[in-house]
């Protein structure tokens, strides 16, 4: 710190300003890319959005109207079930890894979790097929949820471990010092503190799977009709978007873009809603 070059605060300040400008540019590039892509989707898809689009069954080419109502419904059910399965498994594994940090088994689990994040979604779809479709001899929304669960897990596991670990030691030891069992300390005190980061990861994971198509081909299969039973083939919006996008017909292609816009909007609303609820809970207004 006492070399003349370093002592020159002026120059260091300039580096600092340049650095911040660079960082700002990077954040801006990422945000701008989204706006460009979003703009593209909006321009191509907003024309297709109307009440009929949201509530009707798909129509074949040449029959006007029609929509993706069953796809929206199927997506909600399948992702809902996937979240219900992924969150407990992910949290529990994250708690395990945070509590039992070192050792062969925890390290292997972390390693396997990272490897899982690199497996292509189509391979996970095939696994879900082998486990839940082939033995039962029929497609089902539940097998799609299973595939989605596997896609969501690496993110949830890693983030919940990270989030639990970053809760300050003081908080946790304080809880234990008050005589709480580990169970209460972890679930009642540490987890709620770690919740915002976990929710961010959950939202990221949900955002990612709403756009996944490949695992759905052999699991949910798709249908042109209303279906609420996860034990049957179900329609999924991402699958419909994909099928329409690669078709020759401008009317279907327009619906594909409308569906894509819908997917992005759905995630947007979900994120906003979750953030809002978290914000209110943090302010202590929670019931």
């Amino acid at each position: 710190m006492d070399s003349p070059r370093y002592a020159r605060l002026g120059r260091r300040r300039i580096y600092g300003t340049l650095g911040v400008a660079l960082a700002l540019c990077c954040a801006a590039i990422a945000a701008a890319s989204l706006l460009v892509i979003l703009g593209y989707v909006v321009v191509k898809g907003v024309g297709a959005l109307n009440w009929e689009f949201l509530t009707q069954l798909p129509h074949p080419v040449g029959v006007p109207g029609g929509g993706v109502g069953n796809g929206i419904w199927g997506t909600i059910i399948i992702i809902g079930i996937a979240t219900l399965m992924a969150v407990p498994v992910g949290l529990l594994t994250g708690i395990y890894l945070a509590l039992f940090g070192r050792g062969v088994i925890p390290e292997s689990l972390r390693f396997l979790s990272d490897v899982l994040s690199g497996v292509p979604s189509i391979a996970i779809g095939l696994f879900a097929y082998a486990v839940l479709v082939a033995p039962l001899k029929h497609f089902s929304g539940f097998s799609a949820s299973f595939a989605f669960m596997m896609l969501m897990l690496p993110l949830l596991v890693r983030t919940s471990e990270q989030a639990i670990r970053s809760v300050p030691q003081a908080v946790r030891e304080g809880a234990l010092a008050l005589g709480m069992s580990n169970f209460r300390a972890t679930v009642g005190i540490v987890l709620p503190t770690a919740m915002p980061a976990i929710v961010t990861a959950l939202l990221l994971a949900i955002a990612r799977v709403t756009g996944e198509t490949a695992p759905l081909l052999f699991t949910a299969f798709g249908t042109q009709f209303w279906e609420s039973n996860p034990n049957h083939p179900m329609a999924v919006l991402a699958l419909q978007v994909f099928t329409y996008a690669i078709s020759p017909y401008p009317s279907w292609q327009a619906q594909a873009w409308g569906g894509a816009l819908l997917l992005i909007l759905a995630v947007l609303i979900l994120s906003l809603g979750a953030r809002y609820m978290l914000g209110r809970a943090a302010k202590g207004l929670d019931a």
Partner: protein, 342 residues
Amino acid sequence: MIRPLIRSLCALTVAASMMLPAAAATQLTGAGSSFDFPFFSKAFYVYNQKNPDVTINYQSIGSGGGIQQFTAKNVDFGATDVPMNAEELARAGQAVLQVPVALGGAAIAYNLPGVSATVKLSRQVLADIYLGKVQKWNDPAIVKLNAGVSLPDMPIVVVHRSDGSGTSYIFTDFLSHVSADWKSKVGTGKSVQWPAPSSVGAKGNEGVAGQISSTPGAIGYVELAYVIENHMTAATLQNKAGKWVACTPEAVAAAAASKPEVSATNFSIVDASGAQSYPISGYSWVVVYKKPADAARGKALYDVLTWLVGTQGQSNAKSVDYVPLPANVQAAAAGTLRQMQH
């Protein structure tokens, strides 16, 4: 606040699911070729309006996927661009019937800025382009065929389908027929090893079309329906009889009509004879079990498929830019279906 919210969401979901209409009496499922999907979606919709208690759920997961699911008996029928071969039939275990249900063609689309006349290509030149022997648009071989058209000195970017597809099959089948070189070097298949040094693979018709439209000098093969709906420029080809034909539904129908004795073991109609035949045409097939597991579903399936290959069912083809089966082929298909034990 969260808990009551979740409670009300669950209640809403349950209530909504109860309000939805109940499923139809018989729901048949089919899977396979994405080529058939637009035609099937129209045809089955019309059928359901006439017969409200039968619904058919067809999903395009690819011909291979269709055969796999059909063999695993997860679906009632499969749809494939290439009929099942001996190995696949053996794996199915039971006797399988294969009927042609749709007809289509592959047009040669290209992007040549500044050239307003439609380019003419002979079969040999097309094969040479895809072999990589003809690499520029102003190659003497192409210039000779297009008298009076000034072709630019531009390299040809050869675009093909990267995903396995029936359209690729028809196209490579055609190239194998017209070029012995192609047949020995590359062969026929849904996915092949493309030899041209400048070749680029694009996913799906939309990928090929997108690649062509954004690359000057590109050429590629695209499904007929796609070319029609998206107003793409397609080359005029010289067929086996020496005549120049554009890719139109009529020309494809002429190619089909020139070979009435088509069957699952003898199904190729590329490079067909006849003055008006378009050389790159092909059928798409539906596969069913001769003896369906469930008698009632078998009967429903028989009714649907017989309707599909008949005049009424085929009349839906035109509205989606597909080619209806010629009358003799319709009769043959119906005859094959009658072998179904229902």
